[in-house]
């Protein structure tokens, strides 16, 4: 009879007579871990579920669900200022995605391929935007823009967003690039492709899943960013999260639930798409691993 590792020998002996013979588990995980995980997810998702639920509430109440209706969504889409904010947010997220993806990919290429004695320092420096408190980034961006005399507008938000998004792209793309052997690029040049042709015909196709996934991640991050946008936004149009905040100051209305639910859907869709990308490319690796920079060759 095999001995259950996790249990102490005394309990094993005490249980043995008469106890129904259960197949011993390899590692008896403590029960409280399951409970703990359950509670964690409950706290994580309960508020979100509530927001989504009450966005369909037919009454104004935020406590009692009285019936299903789409009136808050109608209000959201009929309000011109909210619509402008939504359009501004999407615009900001798209431009940020495009520019940050290009710049981040170039940075990753430089960091991986141009190995100098400074590479290690740059690899660390590049992570700073990821760990800088957003409020610091926001204040300093605001400071910079006013110093330079740039009027706060959608443009300044985009600039601020690009700055912090580049690092995300670089982290994701760099991991993929590191798994692409240098010999493959050499083979391309050996076969008559110039450096640029090699990048376009060999390197980029290998990087595509990572580049696209990183781009969608950046879209989601930019779309729901509040702090940076708050510091760098102009009067109008304000991006959606800032707009919500402004509205809440005059009292919470159920429209907020509708906007929140809508933003949730957009974010989940873009992240979900990012996770699906490798499969759309017919590759077997997991999108999660691409995003976390943990895939193998």
């Amino acid at each position: 009879m095999s001995v259950d590792v996790a249990r102490s020998p005394t309990t094993t002996r005490a249980e043995a007579p008469g106890a129904p013979s259960r197949p011993p588990k390899e590692f008896d995980r403590p029960r409280f871990l399951k409970l703990f995980t359950g509670v964690f997810f409950l706290f994580l998702f309960a508020p979100i579920v509530l927001v989504v639920l009450f966005s369909f509430n037919s009454s104004r109440s935020l406590q009692d669900f009285e019936g299903f209706s789409l009136r808050w969504y109608e209000q959201f889409f009929e309000s011109e200022s909210l619509r402008d904010s939504l359009i501004a947010s999407i615009e900001i997220a798209l431009i940020t995605m495009l520019i940050a993806t290009v710049l981040g990919t170039m940075l990753a290429y430089g960091l991986v391929r141009a190995r100098t004695r400074w590479s290690d320092s740059f690899n660390v420096l590049m992570l700073i935007p990821l760990v800088t408190p957003e409020i610091v980034a926001g204040v300093s961006a605001l400071l910079l823009f006013t110093q330079v005399g740039l009027e706060l507008s959608v443009t300044t938000i985009v600039l601020a967003h690009i700055t912090f998004s580049i690092s995300y792209v670089t982290v994701v793309v760099r991991a993929r690039l590191a798994s692409l052997s240098l010999e493959v690029e050499e083979a391309s040049m050996d076969l008559g492709a110039t450096r640029w042709q090699t990048f376009r015909l060999v390197t980029l196709p290998a990087l595509w899943p990572a580049v696209l996934a990183a781009g969608l991640l950046v879209f989601a991050l930019s779309f729901d960013d509040f702090v940076l946008s708050f510091f760098t936004t102009g009067e109008s149009p304000q991006p959606l999260p800032v707009r919500i905040w402004t509205q809440i100051r005059f009292g919470v209305r159920p429209t907020i639930n509708a906007i929140g639910s809508f933003m949730l859907v957009v974010s989940v869709l873009s992240i979900g798409l990012a996770l699906l990308i490798p499969r759309l490319f017919g590759r077997r690796e997991s999108g999660l691993k691409v995003l976390l920079g943990r895939e193998g060759a």
């Binding site: 493959v184 083979a187 008559g192 492709a193 015909l201």
Partner: protein, 358 residues
């Protein structure tokens, strides 16, 4: 470009990485149509030499000529050479056909001709009909064939091969050796082949350069290098060699154990000079196999290793002086019926098979 110029010529080529000298003033000519191997242990500079021909590294000193033309200003993508990499380095996102067509497309060859030549190349490496497949669906051996086809289809003046069979298992490697040699004969392109596998180099090459620490130790035909190594390093690196320390005496070498062996002593080797006597295991006869005119020594069997086709018999002549002889297993089903460890045996060899090395 003259017709008679060698395919590749190295003129005093040195390559340094920081303080490390990877290749040390290399002078070498590789003839057109030759299967030439650079053979040596890892870190001997053979791959660096190859990469300088491909254009991935620039010599620190000296010049390289391809078909008589100096190439130091020519980038890799304009050199008329192609490389087969150890890791195959196939383009995973392209089909086999597109992999093979890659070089021709860069050279703006006409579509119809590309199609024809790709088909030809795939036929050559026996992969016809598999052109639509992606590299990841192929086995290691097949990937290697694709890499070969992808390089050969461009009809380079020189094909560079960097340990191309290194990642294959033994059986496949042996089979590919024969095929590679056959393909080279068929296409007539100069092959510059880098390997650390001496058997591979011996089996395929027209000429071999044995390299060690950036220097060419010996350059010659496989037979030259195997039968007449000029230095202990070459004798030890190529095949198995018994290197016995001794001192020159007139007409022979006095071994550490005291026995004097007749051997062809080089003219510049004065009496009393310290040398090594090199004898290949397969040239050594044991006991009754010893024929007329052989040099003989006596010793004790200390180890017997059965390796299938033969048994390695290790004999100690004197303390610390050991010799390996091969006992062919062609008469026996088992080999352990002849001697025991500890038996005294006589060993003999023809004097001309013993080389005196310094």
């Amino acid at each position: 470009m003259s017709e008679n110029s060698p395919a590749i010529r190295f003129e005093g080529v040195t390559k340094r990485f920081g303080d490390f000298v990877a290749v040390d003033s290399l002078d070498l000519e590789i003839k057109s149509g030759e299967f030439f191997s650079l053979l040596g242990p890892s870190g001997c500079g053979k791959t660096t030499t190859l990469r300088m021909v491909a254009g991935f590294e620039q010599p620190s000193e000296g010049r390289i000529f391809l078909e008589g033309e100096p190439v130091e200003t020519v980038p890799p993508y304009r050199r008329n050479v192609n490389t087969v990499f150890q890791s195959y380095a196939l383009f995973e996102h392209l089909s086999i056909e597109d992999n093979v067509a890659f070089g021709l497309k860069r050279r703006k060859v006409e579509k119809d001709e590309i199609r024809r030549r790709v088909a030809e190349a795939l036929e050559l490496v026996e992969l016809h009909g598999r052109g639509g497949v992606r590299p990841r669906e192929l086995s290691g051996g097949q990937k290697q064939r694709v890499a070969l086809a992808r390089a050969l289809v461009n009809r380079p003046s020189v094909l560079l091969l960097d340990e191309p069979l290194g990642a294959l298992d033994l059986k496949l490697r042996k089979q590919m050796q024969v095929e590679l040699k056959g393909i080279q004969r068929e296409v007539g392109i100069t092959f510059l082949y880098v390997t650390h596998d001496q058997e591979e180099a011996l089996a395929m090459s027209d000429r071999i350069a044995v390299m060690d620490r950036g220097l060419i130790r010996q350059c010659g035909t496989p037979e030259d290098i195997y039968e007449h190594p000029t230095e202990p390093f070459v004798a030890g690196f190529i095949g198995v060699s018994n290197l016995l320390p001794g001192v020159c005496e007139n007409g022979g070498v006095r071994l550490a154990g005291g026995a004097v062996c007749e051997a062809r002593v080089p003219a510049d080797c004065t009496s009393g000079a310290e040398v090594q006597l090199s004898v290949r295991p397969e040239k050594i006869a044991i006991d009754e196999e010893i024929g007329e005119g052989m040099v003989t020594v006596e010793g004790t069997i200390v180890e017997r290793v059965y390796v299938g086709t033969s048994t390695q018999v290790i004999v100690e002549l004197a303390a610390g002086v050991r010799l390996m002889a091969l006992e062919q297993n062609w008469l026996r089903a088992r080999s352990d019926d002849r001697w025991e460890i500890g038996d005294r045996v006589k060993l003999g060899w023809q004097p001309e098979h013993a080389l005196v090395l310094r």
